[in-house]
Symmetry: C2
Subunit: 495 residues, 2 copies
């Protein structure tokens, strides 16, 4: 038997490129420092007696390695290396320090002709075919780090405001939207005498939302949220839809009015953006550096020429700053339709805005983009457009001339359209039962949901947001397929 070990090494992890550069910069006055870095070769320029390689380990910073003589052997695009040498002031553009390599080891070779990730920007559809490799691009690596940082900011906001994160179930017999676009499971087990028996006694599907389940702990914990996977078996092939995606959903008890709920949601969105813009936050500083790099790759992809100009780095934060510092507009659906009708009379939309119809994507983008030029809550939609659990509108928003409305909102963002949607929930038992009956839903199936109204019901509301849309809006990436590690959509579940 080996003896038990003394304390695990204080730092079992070797320093990242970022850490090595920071350490060398901090001790620069004492002269060049020795360092060993690991990473992947993102580009290589070979001259007669020297080669320059950009080595990236995913920590957010890369280092230029200067390879003389035989140290450059085998150092090709895409290979992985362990390099030791001296970190010294660089004469090159774009970095303060470079690694003068004294010892080089190729950990894993890479045939540069076969390597699918080239230094130049590749088209997004091609990269999706290599989703397992596109993490090695500046854009996808940056998006993954930003996606992570954004989630941490939301988690922190919720913790600071006493929300409890609850993992809502994926497997469920309840279907929040009442729609048919759900993935179903058909699982069986060997039953007695070898005949198959169902794994679950009732039809089971994958959650399209965690909301109904989240309402249960909300009736005990007061404020809850979840960042969980959700699934829609819809054949949408747009840039805004995935078959598998993440949803950020929050529920708040003891909020009495829709305006009160909007106040909470707006405080959350703007609070989270403020965190991303904070100048005393290491996380935010790193995320902003990634946002600037992502913006450069997007510009290159769109053929806006080479990056590097002074003005470009500030651009990627402008929309974040505007949304963080400007109150979100609020307008009822009825008033929004009137606004859209006025516009339609001058510059026609493809679809005429009509009370009782949903807002189309062009309407939403006109409202948030052209008219309000910022995030806008559209409230109090027709009840007929919305699911059974929404509370009727308060008197100030009643649209009796048209028909009943409900105390709900869609939060529209410029360029995106619907970013989030929420509502007050019907908390009166009899009213909810009536709505369920009118919607043709089985009371038996939702008996547990009705229990929340039978025992200690409270006024409450909540909202949900498609997580990938949020990442798209923050980063400027135009397609949700490019902000998720392994995207799944109708016809595509590779890897």
């Amino acid at each position: 038997m080996r003896p038990t070990r003394a304390l695990a090494r204080a730092n079992a992890l070797t320093p990242t490129v970022r850490a090595a550069l920071a350490s060398a910069a901090a001790t620069a006055d004492a002269g060049p420092s020795q360092a060993t870095v690991n990473g992947w070769v993102r580009s290589v320029r070979a001259h007669k007696n020297v080669a320059f390689a950009e080595v990236d380990d995913g920590s957010g910073d890369s280092v230029q390695a200067v390879l003389k003589g035989r140290t450059a052997e085998g150092i090709t695009l895409g290979s992985s290396v362990r390099l030791s040498g001296t970190l010294s002031p660089s004469r090159g553009r774009g970095q303060a320090l470079e690694l003068q390599v004294s010892d080089a080891r190729v950990l894993g070779p890479s045939d540069p002709d076969a390597y699918p990730i080239q230094k130049k920007a590749l088209p997004a559809p091609l990269l999706r075919e290599h989703a397992h490799m596109r993490f090695r691009t500046t854009q996808t690596a940056g998006v993954m780090r930003v996606r992570d940082a954004l989630a941490r900011d939301w988690h922190d906001w919720f913790e600071d405001h006493e929300f409890v994160h609850v993992h809502t179930p994926i497997l469920t017999s309840s279907d929040c939207e009442g729609a048919g676009e759900v993935f179903t499971l058909s699982q069986s087990l060997p039953g007695p005498e070898g005949s198959p028996a169902p794994f679950f006694p009732r039809p089971t599907n994958l959650a399209v939302s965690g909301q109904l389940h989240l309402e249960a702990p909300t009736h005990a914990l007061g404020r809850t949220y979840t960042l969980s996977p959700a699934f829609r078996a819809e054949p949408s092939m747009t840039s805004r839809h995935l078959a598998e995606f993440y949803m950020l959903e929050a529920e708040v008890a003891f909020v009495d009015t829709l305006d009160g709920l909007l106040d909470v949601a707006e405080a959350a969105f703007r609070g989270v953006l403020s965190r991303l813009l904070a100048y005393d936050s290491r996380r935010a500083t790193r995320a902003r550096a990634d946002l600037a790099k992502i913006a450069q790759t997007l510009a290159a992809e769109q053929g806006e020429g080479e990056s590097g100009g002074e003005g470009e780095a500030a651009g990627p934060l402008d929309h974040l700053l505007a949304a963080a510092t400007t109150p979100f507009a609020r307008i009822t659906y009825t008033d929004a339709v009137a606004l859209l009708a006025d516009e339609h009379a001058v510059v026609p939309f493809e679809h005429a805005p009509t009370w009782g119809d949903g807002l189309s994507s062009e309407h939403e983008k006109w409202l948030a983009g052209t008219h309000f030029n910022g995030p806008v809550f559209v409230t109090d939609y027709p009840a007929a457009l919305k699911p059974f659990y929404m509370l009727p509108s308060g008197p100030e928003a009643a649209a009796a001339a048209h028909g009943p409305t409900v105390a709900c909102f869609d939060l529209l963002f410029p360029g995106i359209g619907e970013m989030a949607g929420g509502s007050m929930r019907e908390h009166n038992l009899d009213a909810l039962r009536a709505r369920m009956a009118a919607s043709g839903l089985s009371e038996h199936e939702y008996d547990w949901y009705l229990d929340l109204r039978r025992f200690g019901s409270v006024p409450h509301g909540g909202w949900g947001m498609g997580w990938e849309r949020w990442v798209c809006w923050v980063t400027g990436v135009g397609n949700v397929r490019d902000v998720v590690a392994f995207p799944r959509w109708a016809g595509s579940c590779r890897f």
Copy 2:
């Protein structure tokens, strides 16, 4: 159109019970303070002229309300209330302040005879039948808050050590374990001419692990992890298995040896425990208060009599403190089998320990509980017991006399058995292909996984942990079904 609003109210959320009590305590020198609290009535004692109600809003603290005359009307067990009054020093046991109620409003009534959650401890199986309501018990509410706090501690540890959280996919065509116990999807879409077409071109199942997918971003970001749902369609009915559960999985590039990987894992586990024990952390202080309350309910459930003794509050932290401050033992599988065989010769196990067989639960519990009395890494299991992707053991652990072993570990915890498992991954392309062929796996299906070894392969390793087991071990709750919001197991997918 309504005008856009000025800044959303600075605090759109009403104060929680916890915040109200903290605020009143901070200003106690200035005399009693006015407060309005919302919450659910957890118990009520009615006397002739006065009633006492414990009001809990899930924030972690409850308040005793003193209701005189008509203010007590309708205040029943399980009802939800909004109470206004004066927070004054209490003469009652167990709280510093009580609310002298001047105005009471019942938000949602509750028939105390029908209400399924009674003040006394209820059996866990009965509470599972009311999973939507058991959040209203001290134990489940506390477990939900602790589960949340534990996740935040892990997230913080990973962020501090430069790991990126990546959402691995749930829908997949790859099966990490090579086992058949997967949930499969059979989804179709209306195809051309009305005939159904499959939603995805290949058979698709729910992830049993995120590991293989996590290895891809690890080959670009360096250090990654995920806390994601995983699914096993196995009919296990034990206290340690669920059909749907969460897994915490981490991957680390540029770690060269199994001992180095153990160093990282041990640093993570002990670092996270240190956070939970930190005395300057608000999160940890709250979590420890919940752990003490959970321990009391567990003791009551087990019939250990009434709680309240001085000694009990310290107990729930003892196992955490021991694990945080004591190095984890490390032993090879081969040496562990020899140890077990020695013990078996004196006090026989049910299953004889035999080289080549897996360790049984009794073996694991003896090792971690009786012998090492703390967490122990058992390393270098026989290759035949482990999946294809594991690296062969290094020379120091080679067990040539018995057969080949792999550079893997199971981390055993007292009372739990297997808490986590991990390994070095085979990073040599040809060696991996040979293992796949020997395992009967299709190279075509795993071509993307092989690409990670074709281009810039690096030595790497990782581990995974069943999240519910971690929550069980920390809280002392004995069944994973009781630390998850809505548990799913074979035959049960209610709600």
